[in-house]
């Protein structure tokens, strides 16, 4: 079964999901710039039906940390 969160980041970063992991972050992925971040906020909000606050976005410094934030907001199955 595919990882929904990796799929979202794959779309936002325009990278194959197979190249992504919970360790993927702006520091090891040049595609993860501020424009991609803006795009991914929209994609994450649409995919998981949540509204992210700025403080939550700031915590998402890697895919794994994004997963933690979303689980903290009650998103299930990721």
């Amino acid at each position: 079964m595919s990882d929904r969160l990796l799929d979202v980041f794959s779309a936002g970063l325009k990278l194959p999901a197979s190249e992504l992991s919970d360790d993927t972050s702006p520091s090891n992925t040049s595609q993860w710039d501020s424009l991609a971040a803006m795009e991914m906020v929209v994609l994450i909000e649409d995919a998981f039906d949540v509204r992210l606050k700025t403080s939550e976005i700031m915590k998402m410094r890697s895919i794994g940390l994004a997963r933690t934030v979303l689980r903290g907001k009650g998103v299930e199955g990721i």
Binding site: L35, M38, E39, V41, V42, K53, T54
Partner: protein, 558 residues
């Protein structure tokens, strides 16, 4: 072969990326985007050549007052400073835009900035919001004034914001984190509007808005309901047609020439304009041209185009009738068509929402043309007859069922006898009892016709009453609803009468025409079908007779 792609340069006072995809989707195909550095509005305009990776063919400027003139705006809000300096700065920005468009020869699409969000609109703080609205108006005026005469298309970002609503359009989180002040849906909408504006550059704008009268300009059928009876006025549902007319006047103010194209008697239309002046918004002065006659709409539109020296692609045509619209669609493919619906709310909205004239400007030439039209149309005779109206008729697949009405049809037959004014040769009115007696009579035959075409059925729309003597049959009544004029239905029913008369051994068919104020269109009905004049309004033809047109299929009941 690689076609050269059109490069759209975007200068924005905020992060423009979310606009790009919808903009390209709405812009002409073969376009691509090149972005200037964000919020370098002045620098980018001053040095278009080095601000983009690829030299732009078209330029988009999207800006907000608070982004470009933040400090001066803050000062005005906080210290109530004189806004003259700010206004001059905004005018200078407009001047820069105009210069780019003129000197580089690059078409520019520029936004009117929204009301600054610096102060959130608070309904309970009316003084502040009014003060801000006044400043906004002054700054917009200065910006537009600064642009001057230049190939610049203005897109009203403030109006778009009002349409969406401030709460739905702004996203302060995105603004703070990414300098992207808008929600995604609003950014998409803005990008689309900008793309559409780019697509409209260089495209010819229609000039003439041709409108039908019955069930379009007003409700009802003038020929049947009379000038007093057509629906238009202050109360429902007449107010829907008033709103429709208000929209027309609005379109006229935005560059459309309004032409009336109606199948009616010209005198009847004048009667409405006189008698119903208080109920109408539109008046003869609003009309650049009129074609009120019984010619096909396609012929009349073509004649108008010739008269105005315009192509038919300069015309937008509004009508409620699918058949009229379809004839124009087939014969004049360049004309843009707008169908007027039946629901009052649709009628009321449709003219306000027309987008065809949105980029039109009213030139002095157009105004002169309106005056010229008034003079010309007063002189002109009805347009020439339709050369290929027959071809259109053939495409309609018209079927006419001619039958002897029974008791169940008497009500409808009587209604037509008493309501029909225009296509009515003798205008003899009869009540139910008289009609029932004629239906049962041996000395008379009553004919009814039901009509259908590929758009659907029209029901029982024509009636004839014939007195049958041994040697001669006499058509006492022949009438038809306006809804099926010029389809050949009248010939179908006349042919059936003539055939029946021949079969019964008669050798002569007689008819008469009694003129009224409304029925001038049938004055020459019999002569046009080979009848000879035998007296004042009296005609006859030798049997057998052949008048049926090829395009009509006739069904007879056994």
């Amino acid at each position: 072969m690689t076609a050269k792609r059109t490069v759209i340069g975007i200068i924005a006072s905020f992060t423009p990326q979310p606009l790009v995809e919808p903009l390209l989707a709405a812009a002409p195909t073969g376009s691509e985007v090149s972005l200037a550095d964000f919020n370098q509005v002045h620098q980018s305009l001053l040095d278009v050549g080095s601000s983009f990776q690829r030299a732009p063919d078209q330029l988009v400027l999207v800006w907000r007052i608070e982004d470009v003139f933040g400090p001066a705006l803050t000062e005005w809000v906080v210290q109530d400073s004189d806004p003259t300096g700010l206004r001059e700065d905004v005018r200078e920005l407009g001047t820069l835009v105009g210069q780019v468009a003129r000197t580089h020869g690059i078409p520019v699409v520029a936004t009117i900035p929204p009301v600054p969000t610096f102060v959130w609109l608070d309904p309970l703080d009316a003084r502040s919001s009014v003060r801000l609205a006044v400043l906004h108006g002054q700054l917009v005026e200065a910006f537009v004034d600064g642009i001057g005469p230049a190939p610049v298309t203005l897109v009203d970002l403030a109006a778009l914001l009002r349409l969406h609503g401030t709460d739905r359009a702004y996203d302060s989180r995105n603004d703070l984190m990414y300098h992207q002040p808008f929600t995604r849906p609003f950014a998409t909408s803005l990008g689309t509007v900008l793309g559409e504006a780019l697509g409209a550059i260089g495209r010819a704008t229609p000039k003439v808005l041709a409108v039908d009268a019955d069930n379009t300009l007003w409700g009802g059928i003038l020929g049947e309901d009379g000038a007093d009876g057509v629906i238009v006025g202050d109360s429902f549902p007449g107010n829907a047609y008033r709103a429709f007319q208000q929209g027309l006047v609005y379109q006229a103010a935005h560059g459309a020439l309004i032409a009336l194209v109606s199948k009616n008697n010209a005198d009847d239309i004048d009667e409405v304009f006189q008698q119903r002046r208080g109920d109408l918004v539109i008046s003869p002065e609003h009309l650049a041209a009129r074609r009120v006659d019984w010619n096909s709409k396609a012929d009349n539109l073509r004649a108008l185009a010739d008269e105005l020296n315009l192509g038919v692609d300069s015309f937008v045509f509004m009508d409620d009738n699918d058949v009229e619209l379809d004839e124009v669609r087939q014969r004049l493919p360049g004309v843009q068509l707008v169908k007027v619906g039946e629901e009052p709310e649709d009628v009321a909205e449709i003219t306000r929402r027309l987008t065809q004239f949105r980029y039109a400007t009213v030139s002095a030439e157009d105004r002169g043309r309106t005056e010229m039209m008034h003079v010309e149309s007063g002189r002109r005779e009805a347009a020439a007859s339709a050369p290929s109206h027959a071809e259109f008729l053939a495409s309609l697949d018209i079927t006419v069922r001619v039958f002897a009405p029974g008791p169940a049809h008497v009500g409808r037959v009587t209604q037509l006898i008493n309501k029909t004014n225009q296509f009515n040769l003798t205008t003899i009115r009869r009540d139910d009892a008289e009609v029932a007696a004629l239906v049962a009579s041996d000395a008379h035959r009553v004919y009814a016709a039901e009509v259908s075409d590929r758009f659907g059925g029209y029901g029982l729309v024509a009636v004839a009453i014939v007195k049958c003597d041994a040697h001669a049959w006499e058509v006492e009544t022949l009438l038809m609803s306006c809804r099926v004029l010029r389809r050949g239905v009248e010939d179908a029913i006349l042919q059936c009468i003539a055939d029946d008369a021949s079969s019964a051994g008669a050798t002569t068919l007689r008819g008469s025409y009694l003129p009224t104020a409304k029925n001038s269109q049938v004055a020459t009905f019999y002569p046009e079908r080979g009848f000879v004049v035998t007296g004042q309004g009296l005609f006859e033809a030798a049997l057998p007779l052949s008048v049926l047109a090829k395009h009509v299929a006739v069904l007879r009941d056994a």
